[in-house]
Amino acid sequence: MTPPQTYTARLEEKVQLNDKFTQYSFELIEPHRLKFKAGQYVSIKVSTQGERRAYSICSTPDNDHQFDLLIDASPDGLGVQFLQSLEFGTEIEVLAPMGHFTVPTDLTADHLVFIATGSGVAPFRSMIEDQLRNYQDQRQITLHWGMRQATDLFWLEEWQELDENFANFHFHPVLSQAPAAWTLCRGRVTDCLSVHPRPTQAAYFLCGGKNMVQDVTKLLISLGISAELILTEKFY
């Protein structure tokens, strides 16, 4: 892994994905290139007192002159307030790359199962696209993504595009408060996992709420999945 260092980056674009989620794009100024692995995160200085917040990178490593972040505005904490206050062109201080939540190159699994709730999908956007487009990974890759309501979902065109262009990618959104017309999975991600066939030689990547990570880990262990094949992002 590349050791973290301090970067200056400039806010380039904000895309409001829906009422809760916004995608921020930052252009790197100095150094102007960031070498990172899909799944890693950045630590942003969000106050003059030195307070920092961690955010997963949702863009792919081949685009090394910028990075994108997915921000859930609903917690309305210090980090969200800092980012929402940024004007275009404002420079920020970032420590990157951080974290070890990546797809190991020596992973023996023949199926990669990504399980997220809420903004936990952010690193998976980077990891899944990186595996499919940049590594031409031929293994089965499945994303189970839990949200409350259909209006919470975003990046649907992007997931749909991957689903159409890569036969080995499978996208399963699951809603806990699904409308009557919803024909896909309902309930929690654990319900979604029980509906779909369980792969035999799979590695599981979990990112999202603490309870979800605990519940899914417990479920997978009870199903005989080795703990070594369950990888979690710990800072969420």
Binding site: P4, S43, K45, Q49, G50, E51, A54, G99, F235
Partner: protein, 86 residues
Amino acid sequence: MTTQDNTSNQQPGKYKVTVMRDKCIGCASCTAIAADTFKLDDEGISTVISQEGDDATKLLAAQSCPTGAIAATDAKTGDPVWPLSE
């Protein structure tokens, strides 16, 4: 709150750092930033191995901990440096 300070008898820097074990999630951000100061123990929890490292780096590691599990104090006075007092 339990803390861990496995420091040697080396001359400390300006800041003394401690890890609050019950807050640490083992994400290793501190070891990535300040490898001479922190390492993960057998339980995957960060532990302090030396207070000798560069003070700015130690403070940055504390500030970058996503769970606020690292405290920094003035080594001479014991006054808290990080986290910020309310």
